[in-house]
């Protein structure tokens, strides 16, 4: 053996030969991978519709952290989703998490998400449908569907079919520590207020371009031209030095806000909820340019063999108990509007404008987070902001 190794080290085997054979093998591997890639995104047309008792079960849910996987509130998450679903079906779901919508979509688009249910947000819904990755739901199989507000129902309708069941929703708005910050006006401009240099956090997504678009008076920041995008890019680059960090996880932002590292940030309602629960003097601003509201929903994978199980899971998600959990624990809204708001923390009703939802989810108070047809172009411009 030692002698053989010595021979190898002494290169008695031709290096050219070795590379040639390795290259051939690698080429074959690439060809095989190409074939796999070209078929990965194909829609599953053979989804069976056997009765629920004959379905395999073991529902696989592809979701955000904190929505059943037990990362944040293990007991409450289990009580909200797992137990009611188990009671209804006798099945136990498993959870696979994604970090953000883009990350989640990428995995699906590359054919690496063999799951049953997915939980993206509305700006990605059409991408999933175009990819052929999801199939329409049958709302008549979801008992609680009738309790979901029509205000959000349209989020999940594409080509006249209910491809997504709208569930959770929330805002994007500036949040600040009122003990440290005195805004000159209620505006997104707080995110680039020079008085608070290095005390500001932006989110690490291309939505910063949209925010800049609203601030700079672009008519429709969700469909910006190259010139408009370039203007927002240059604007953000000119303000970037004021920023302490870009956050990827809302909880990271909250921790730094709590620690006092930052006083101002692009925020989701959960950060405001945490701050309120801790008694911090935080303000969730209603900027004059309008907040942005997002909605996320459940999608049913085209290849799912758990069609009826998935509907039962969507039913649990559409239940008022889920709404109570989200509003109490995350300060997120829910499409089920039958919650008794008097039982919610007082701050959440005001923060989410739950007492007048129709006005709250319409301009000028709030703009709907929309699908961006040129998302890759936006992503490229946002990449340029970060790289500059």
């Amino acid at each position: 053996m030692t002698r053989e190794l010595d021979r190898l080290i002494a290169r008695r085997i031709g290096r050219r030969d070795l590379l040639r054979y390795a290259g051939i093998a690698a080429g074959a591997g690439v060809l095989a991978a190409c074939k796999q890639a070209s078929t990965a995104a194909a829609p599953g047309s053979g989804a069976s519709r056997v009765p629920i008792a004959q379905e395999p079960g073991g529902l696989k849910v592809y979701d955000w952290a904190g929505y059943g996987g037990g990362e944040y509130y293990p007991k409450d998450e289990k009580a909200t989703w797992t137990t009611p679903y188990q009671d209804a079906t006798g099945d136990t779901p498993t959870f696979v998490l994604f970090e953000n919508d883009d990350d989640g979509y990428t995995k699906v688009a590359t054919g690496n998400a063999p799951y049953d249910v997915v939980h993206p947000c509305a700006y990605r819904f059409k991408d999933y449908v175009d990819l052929g990755a999801v199939q329409p739901w049958d709302p008549s199989l979801i008992k609680n569907f009738s309790q979901l507000t029509p205000l959000l129902e349209q989020f999940g309708q594409i080509n006249g079919q209910q491809y997504f069941i709208p569930e959770d929703w929330g805002y994007i708005a500036p949040m600040y520590n009122a003990d440290q910050v005195q805004p000159q006006e209620d505006s997104w401009s707080l995110l680039w207020d020079e008085r608070y240099a290095k005390r500001i956090a932006w989110i690490n997504t291309l939505e910063m371009l949209v925010i800049a678009g609203y601030y700079n008076g672009v008519a429709d920041p969700w469909t910006m031209t190259d010139d408009e995008l370039a203007a927002q890019r240059d604007f953000l680059i000119s303000k970037k030095d004021l920023v302490s960090f870009f956050w990827d996880q809302s909880y990271d932002f909250w921790l730094k806000f709590k620690r006092g590292d930052v006083w101002i940030g692009y925020a989701w309602p959960d950060a405001f909820g945490y701050a309120s629960a801790q008694g911090m003097n935080a303000v969730y601003m209603q900027p004059k340019e309008g907040r942005i509201h997002w909605a996320c929903g459940l999608g049913l994978f085209a290849d799912s063999q758990n069609y009826y199980h998935a509907h039962e899971y969507a039913n649990v998600w559409s239940d008022v108990k889920t709404a109570e959990f989200l509003e109490n624990f995350y300060y997120y809204g829910h499409a089920n509007t039958t919650v008794d708001t008097s039982k919610l923390p007082p701050g959440v009703v005001k923060a989410l404008n739950l007492d007048n939802l129709e006005a709250a989810l319409s301009p000028p108070l709030s703009h709907q987070e929309s699908w961006i047809s040129r998302r890759d172009v936006y992503a490229d411009y946002w990449g340029q902001v970060k790289a500059a």
Partner: protein
């Protein structure tokens, strides 16, 4: 005749045994290195289509945009090179005395001390990096100390300690010093001590002996150490992600973002292949000057 047959049989066995020995490593290399690299290379010129938004047309357009189109990513690459060079120089300067002390000053238990130096490797990389947040943060150890001794007024911490290029350089230097001390130690440990004695006998001072004998003989270790830091840190993305902030964003972060935050894998592939080519070129260049045996004995 019998001896010819025996010779042939021996050669056959030798070839079979060689092929058997090689098959594992070659297969591994092909499956997990060459294959993915070729895949990424093919993607960089549009030879592979995964997303609906992929053009699916073979073109070197993205390469042209990156190399001669005034791409912001090329500027980011040079920024990363600058940061990596800074880190590499600092790390080598810090690690050399450590290696020198262990190899030439310590007589007993030098390997115990060596183990102590590399002990940080026994803890999680993530934890080690995150610990620096506690040290460098606005309310961290350094700022709290400066406030307590009245060198900074309360509420006015030094904000550039964290989420800056400074914090990236500090943390990367911290992470790599123990690792880099090893090749320098090996290089110095293999020195023929009689050469140092001869220099002394010929009247050279300790400093002159170091400059004229020790340092030149340990240069292969120093160069190897430099390469060990420089090559991985050009593509570094975890540390800048955790402590870099907007100004500490590096080339590796751009590659990661292009692959995970969007579907522009073609540009991501161009950036990744460019990095690979540069690193391979650097390795080839350094390989000509570094005698591997002299630092890996």
């Amino acid at each position: 005749m019998a001896s010819v047959d025996a010779d042939r049989s021996w050669r056959r066995r030798e070839r079979a045994s060689t092929a058997g020995l090689l098959s594992g490593p070659v297969l591994w290399l092909v499956l997990f290195f060459l294959g993915p690299v070729l895949y990424v290379a093919a993607y960089s010129v549009g030879g592979i289509k995964i997303f609906p938004t992929d053009a699916g047309v073979v073109s070197v357009g993205d390469w042209k945009r990156f190399l001669v189109g005034g791409s912001v990513y090329l500027g980011l690459f040079w920024k990363s090179v600058r940061i990596s060079l800074t880190v590499s120089v600092i790390v080598v300067l810090l690690a050399y005395p450590v290696g020198y002390f262990l190899a030439l000053c310590v007589k007993k238990r030098k390997y115990v001390l060596l183990l102590l130096i590399i002990a940080p490797f026994l803890t999680s990389y993530l934890l080690r990096v995150l610990a620096w947040e506690v040290i460098l943060g606005d309310t961290g150890v350094i700022n709290s100390f400066l406030t307590s001794v009245h060198l900074r007024s309360a509420g006015h911490p030094i904000t550039w300690l964290l989420y800056s290029q400074f914090s990236v350089v500090v943390v990367l230097a911290y992470v790599w010093v123990p690792f880099v001390a090893l090749p320098i130690f090996v290089s110095l440990d293999n020195l023929d001590l009689s050469l140092l004695e001869a220099a002394g006998d010929l009247g050279a001072s300790r400093l002159r002996t170091f400059w004229r004998v020790t340092l030149p003989l340990s240069l292969p270790g120093v160069v190897a150490a430099f390469v060990f830091v420089f090559v991985p840190t050009i593509g570094e993305f975890v540390t800048p992600l955790l402590v870099g902030g907007p100004s500490g964003y590096m080339y590796g972060n751009a590659i990661q973002d292009l692959f995970t935050r969007g579907t522009d894998w073609q540009t991501g592939s161009v950036l990744a292949m460019f990095l690979l080519i540069v690193v391979a070129g650097l390795m080839a260049l350094f390989g000509r000057y570094v005698r591997v045996r002299s630092v890996a004995a």
